[in-house]
Amino acid sequence: MIRIFSILAGLFFTAALLWSFGNGAYSAITDPAAVTAEEMFHKHPKQLALASDGAFGNFDHRQLQRGFQVYQEVCSACHALSQVSYRDLKQLGYNDDEVKAIAAKAQVPAYNAKTGEVKSHKGLATDHFPPVVYGGQGTPPDLSLVTKARHGGGAYVYSLLTGYQNQPAELLKHFPDAKVPDGLHYNPYFVNLNIAMPPPLTGDGQVTYGDGTKASVDQMAKDVSAFLVWTAEPSLAKQHQTGWPVLGFLLFATVLAYMAYRNIWADKKH
């Protein structure tokens, strides 16, 4: 009895699936999906080698400081960094006084629950980076987690920053209606090819590095990407440093336990 019901139920589901399959196959043949401009012209991120890559990766503090400088002088005009607090910057090698001085340059709004007022105060080391008011086109996302929130991570940010170009003539040949809309900029690394962010890194020497590194566009893009890898995962280096001893211990324990197992079963066929 139950098997008759079962076979009937089976026929019900399989028939409904065949129906969907048949209809889908029919429209796939009669009305094949057209290729879109994104599918044809979107590019995967370029290669970017950072000191923090791989299972032994550690942060290059000098590069992070340079990247922080790029963020401060360029990106912070539009992008917030709300998950990061000023005291976190000590991890980049700044000392207490430097951190306090960096914080003091910022005005941090604070809500007073008693008066209901929002008043700004000079930033303290314990404050987080303040929100940013942006009046231009598009919505600049908070950058704290951006390298974990996009496929490709740091390499994606680097590619995006160095990927601006003129819209290829070939694209317009295939898709005459796909001209870059006003106020947007062509960038093949961005999901839909047209990004609202104007190219932020425009010329060599846009910032002046204290450590003498030449501030080419490529270098600045690399440095700020490295910095954003840190802001997204400040504990990355610690994860690697903890991981190896843990794995070493587990390997040792596994081998011991395996030998114990072999020993216990030695004269038990199984």
């Binding site: 139950i2 098997r3 079962s6 076979i7 139920a9 089976g10 026929l11 589901f13 399989t14 028939a15 409904a16 699936l17 065949l18 129906w19 969907s20 399959f21 209809n23 889908g24 196959a25 796939a28 999906a33 299972a55 998950q83 976190d88 996302p141 704290s144 987690l145 974990k148 929130a149 996009r150 496929h151 999901v191 997204a232 400040p234 504990s235 610690k238 994860q239 690697h240 903890t242 991981g243 843990v246 794995l247 587990l250 390997l251 324990a253 596994t254 336990a257 395996y258 114990a260 197992y261 216990i264 079963w265 038990k268 066929k269 199984h270």
Partner: protein, 433 residues
């Protein structure tokens, strides 16, 4: 129950004797996972996964309780509180990554555990109850994992919650009221987040309770084994302690090694990047997908693209998705082959390896992709096979298949001979199945 030759607990220490006559907890442990529990000697490594599942359950409970000390279930600050755990709480990142990847590890383990059951016929009498309780556990695990994923309140949390509770909206007439009642509103918000958090903390303890029943039910007939031939005599078994403690122990450490490699070196490998974007009801992600362990079921849900007679496609998908798991409840009565282990079932074996496994893998692959061709057609074919396998093929195969000859006993399959088989083997052979 146990076998007549099981060792009897004889405490020698006066304190243990005192304890044994008042609260025989040590005896309980001795009989459950100690020298007092005889286990088939021929269990292969697929039988280690129940123990690994216990380890996962323990890990999830411990790391989850620590996370709950720092997490704030409030739609305004949930996302930031998770980042606070990652950045400011000592070893917070370790707790969070252990918990998130622990869920994945748990599902890897449980899928292997379930498919072990499919292949070796573990669901057959006298272990139907073990199996049924297992399916209940699996459903509870899915509910727990789904609600846990909502808690960080990222984009995928929010939109996942919206899509999944939206499934109830497919029920005719009462669907929308039910959906609003579940969410406590028209869309996921603070009310939903708080009730999901409450249930996410509760359900694991319900799972612990059902696991106790699961193992209790298992210990009545004892474990099956790769031959599927039931235990006949003492030479078929070894005591759980030390033999299986040693085997489960080394397997558990090996498992922890792989798990920690992921936790420390690729903790976001299985996650979706969009969940690092705070929930935003105004911006729909390009692709809404659940965590990887739901992909096969998600693919089934999306396979129904056309209304079937008067049944709307969406309702059909919801029905099929829930049915795809609920049919496991009937498995012991659909597969009527008297032979338990797939090893001795030539026809079943082919359907298992060339049908069921590929179709589930294809469904998993498609479930993580866009709902577009060719993925839709692929998942329709795979889902076709999936339902046919359980509802049509298994009942028919079990009545037409001619099984391979079974060994007389576990002992014979291990040693190549069993003295008892030589004595009265012929008569017992039929019963061996």
């Amino acid at each position: 129950m146990s076998f007549p030759w099981a060792n009897d607990y004889k405490p020698s220490h006066p304190f243990m004797q005192w304890m044994d006559s008042r609260l025989p907890l040590p005896r309980f442990v001795y009989d459950a996972i100690g020298a007092g529990y005889p286990v088939p000697r021929n269990l292969n490594y697929w039988w280690n996964f129940g123990f690994l599942a216990l380890i996962c359950l323990g890990l999830q409970v411990v790391t989850g309780i620590v996370l709950a000390m720092h997490y704030a279930a409030n739609a305004g600050i949930a996302f930031d509180s998770v980042e606070h755990i990652m950045r400011d709480v000592n070893w917070g990142w370790l707790m969070r990554y252990s918990h998130a990847n622990g869920a994945s590890a748990f599902f890897v383990v449980i899928y292997i555990h379930i498919f072990r059951g499919f292949y070796f016929g573990s669901y057959k009498p006298p272990r139907e109850m073990v199996w049924l309780l297992g399916v209940v556990i699996f459903l509870l695990m899915m509910a727990t994992a789904f609600m846990g994923y909502v808690l960080p309140w990222g984009q995928m949390s929010f939109w996942g919650a919206k899509v999944i509770t939206g499934l109830f909206g497919a029920i005719p007439l009462v669907g929308e009221p039910i959906q609003q009642w579940l969410l406590g509103g028209f869309a996921p918000d603070n009310a939903a987040l708080n009730r999901f958090y409450s249930l996410h903390y509760l359900l694991p303890f319900v799972i612990v309770g059902v696991v106790v029943l699961h193992i209790w039910a298992l210990h009545i007939p004892g474990s099956s084994n790769p031959t599927g031939v039931e235990v006949k005599s003492e030479s078929d078994t070894v005591p759980f302690y030390p033999f299986f403690i040693a085997k489960d122990g080394w397997a558990a450490l090996a498992f922890l090694f792989v798990y920690c490699a992921v936790v420390f070196f690729a903790p976001n490998m299985l996650g979706h990047p969009d969940n690092y974007i705070p929930a935003n009801p105004m911006s729909t992600p390009a692709l809404i997908v659940p965590e990887w362990y739901f992909w096969p079921f998600y693919a089934i849900l999306r396979s129904f693209t056309f209304d079937f007679f008067f049944i709307p496609a969406k309702l059909m998908g919801v029905l099929a998705m829930f049915s795809s798991i609920l049919i496991w409840f009937f498995l012991p009565w659909l597969d009527r082959s008297p032979v338990r282990s797939g090893k001795y079932r030539p026809l079943f074996k082919k359907f298992f390896w060339y049908g069921l496994i590929p179709s589930v893998l294809v469904l998993g692959y498609c479930g993580g992709s866009h709902a577009a061709e060719p993925y839709l057609m692929m998942s329709q074919l795979a889902a076709f096979y999936y339902f046919a396998h359980f509802l049509i093929i298994l009942p028919i195969v079990s009545s037409i298949e001619r099984p391979d000859p079974l060994p007389f006993s576990i002992t014979e399959s291990v040693l190549g001979h069993d003295d008892k088989a030589a004595l009265g083997g012929k008569a017992a052979l039929g019963a061996a199945a």
